[in-house]
């Protein structure tokens, strides 16, 4: 079966600087530097990485909001890497995006009804009455009331705005939604609600998600598979449970060890990541493995040659880009496992409350 979305060696480089009289750029920011992944129908691929690793650039590349410097992008089997103008515009309803910042991603001059009807309008779907009916149907789907339709974004809270953003993405019945850190800008108390909403919608509508986050805890809750990104490359990708049970890249382990623990007694763990120098930026990606300056396991070969994604023995679908993957010590999950304490508990609590509400209502 062909995957819904397939990226092969996708890259986006930005030239920077250059003098007043020289046309040659001073450097090259390799924001995304050869990324391959697939998203199957109905699947959620979680994409995790720290700030500046290129995950937002990758999200925009995936939707062709920016053009790739190199690589191939296939959507529903069709090569869309160089699709332009009208052809690309016609494809847009199939792939939508939920943005990180719920305050800046809605036009402040439009009402909710206008925002939700616009995707239908630009693609010539339905007449005014049908569009209005669709808006009325969308609002309860994302947990808003129909009397919200004629208000403007500034009258809503962050969580509600994010629901509007989700409804806008759903309006044209896409098959893929790219969620670019959809809960990072929200209060923790709201995050769980929005994550659960996205999960519910996926179950109901058979959506596929490319779910981007900088937090392994959130992704664990939503993703079927998880990819971990460092400086524009995927370093490890695996089915979610497998990744958390058997992280096979030193960076993934660092991320897992860095999940905040609510217990002050556990603050200084011996297994915590060493506080070595900061990762070099995407302007000066190091020779060899791009993670080696910060890697506690780095040896000479790591400085010379870059490892590619290799399948891990005995774990189907688990790939890792590390020369020393086989030599990594057995993974000891941080105490108080599972290592997603605060968020997982929050999510569980919310699910419980929601069930109660549903039962009583």
């Amino acid at each position: 079966m062909t995957p819904l979305l397939e990226a092969i060696d996708l890259a986006r480089h930005y030239p920077v600087g250059g003098g007043l009289f020289s046309r040659k750029p001073a450097g090259l920011v390799r924001a995304v530097d050869g990324v391959s992944f697939t998203v199957a129908k109905g699947e959620t691929l979680g994409l995790v990485g720290e700030s500046g690793c290129g995950k937002s650039t990758l999200a925009r590349l995936t939707l062709r909001l920016i053009d790739p410097t190199a690589g191939t992008l296939r959507f529903e089997g069709q090569d869309i890497t160089r699709l332009e103008g009208e052809a690309m515009r016609r494809l847009r309803p199939r792939m939508q995006m939920v943005f990180q910042d719920p305050f800046a991603s809605l036009n402040p001059r439009m009402t909710v009804a206008e925002i939700l009807a616009e995707p239908l309008l630009v693609h010539g779907i339905g007449d005014a009455r049908q569009r209005r009916a669709r808006v009325e149907a969308l609002l309860p789907m994302v947990g808003l009331a129909s009397h919200h339709a004629d208000r403007k974004p500034h009258e809503f809270s962050g969580g509600q705005r994010q629901r509007i953003g989700i409804a806008r993405a759903l309006a044209v019945e896409p098959s893929l939604i790219v969620c670019d850190e959809p809960v990072s800008a929200l209060d923790v108390s709201i995050q769980a609600q929005v994550v659960n909403l996205l999960k519910d919608l996926q179950a109901r509508l058979g959506l596929s998600y490319l779910f981007i986050a900088h937090d392994l805890a959130v992704v664990r809750h939503v993703a079927d598979r998880v990819a971990v990104m460092v400086l524009g490359r995927i370093m490890e990708v695996a089915p979610a449970e497998d990744l958390y049970a058997r992280p096979s890249h030193p960076y993934t382990r660092m991320l897992l060890a860095a999940v905040p623990r609510p217990d002050p007694a556990q603050r200084h763990l011996p297994s915590a990541a060493p506080a070595t120098a900061d990762l070099p930026g995407p302007l000066s990606i190091p020779q060899g493995c791009r993670f080696h300056p910060r890697c506690p396991m780095a040896v000479e070969p790591c400085r010379r040659e870059e490892p590619g994604l290799q399948p891990l023995a005995g774990a189907p679908g688990h790939l890792t880009a590390c020369w020393r993957a086989a030599e990594l010590p057995a993974w000891m999950p941080p105490p108080q496992a599972p290592p997603a304490p605060a968020a997982a508990r929050r999510l569980a609590l919310y699910a419980e409350r929601r069930d109660q509400a549903r039962d009583s209502g």
Partner: protein, 260 residues
């Protein structure tokens, strides 16, 4: 009261006074602005509050009627400025590549030319009628508007809601008209008020240089100029229309500035 509100209040008050003066000129002016009298070059008296000019016309009545001309020339010129400058700025701000470079270079070329000199040259060529002066001022001033709009578009086009509009499949024309334009309308309106003040100022300068509306029109700039020879006899001949220009320009400028 904040400084901004004070500016706005003062600006609105000035504009209102001048607009009233212009609107009501035929009724509140004590004399026909173009009627000569026997009393030539008199100082301020109870009959002629600001004295009379070299043809015996009542200066006060002429200053009141001058407001009508300025209030016609200023806003119309600002409108022309917006009609040329806004679409140009929208396009220059949103386009990329060669088109963008070309538009910016055209804009820079016009900005580099001194407004007054350009206006003088064109006015000499086409002749000073009301319509010509309005068009000339609009043609001279549009680059400022275009530059402002371009800057606004460039900062807006990077915001997530514009990206969202692109991701749902909006065409550039729709993005400009429905997503960018409504969000810069306020700033364009403010810039138009400033353009009104600049237009009135430039029109007065043209008048002072002898390129105002032909006599006997009560053009403030021309009045300042023609009173120049008689400053020692009746300084109000120049000072009154000069002050009228200054207050009008200040009023519109304050209104424009207080919105930003």
């Amino acid at each position: 009261m904040t400084a901004r509100r004070f500016r706005l209040g003062l600006g609105v008050a000035l504009v209102a006074i001048i607009a009233l003066a212009g609107l009501l000129a035929p009724w509140i002016a004590p004399f026909d602005p173009n009627a000569s009298g026997a009393d030539v070059l008199s100082g301020a008296t109870a009959t002629h509050w600001m004295g009379t000019d070299d043809l015996g016309r009542d200066v006060y009545s002429r200053v009141l009627h001058g407001a009508r001309i300025s209030l016609l020339v200023g806003p119309l010129a600002a409108l022309v400025t917006a009609i040329i400058g806004v679409p140009f700025g929208l396009l220059a701000g949103y386009a990329r590549g060669r088109l963008n470079q070309f538009l910016v270079q055209v804009m820079d070329l016009f900005i580099a030319l001194p407004n007054l000199v350009l206006a003088l040259i064109i006015t000499v060529m086409v002749g000073a009628t009301l319509l010509n002066i309005v068009l000339v001022l609009g043609i001279v001033m549009w680059p400022e508007m275009a530059r402002l709009v371009r800057g606004q578009v460039m900062s807006l086009r990077e915001t997530p809601f514009i990206e969202a509009a692109r991701s749902i499949g909006c065409k550039p024309s729709r993005i400009l008209a429905f997503h960018i334009w409504p969000n810069i309308m306020r700033i364009v309106a403010a810039q138009m008020a400033i353009a009104v003040s600049a237009a009135i100022f430039t029109a007065a300068s043209l008048g002072f240089l002898g390129l105002g509306l032909p006599p006997p029109a009560a053009d403030w700039g021309s009045m300042v100029q023609s009173g120049f020879d008689y400053l020692s006899l009746n300084p109000l001949l120049s000072l009154a229309p000069g002050a009228a220009v200054a207050l009008t320009v200040l009023g519109f400028y304050l209104v424009g500035r207080s919105v930003e």
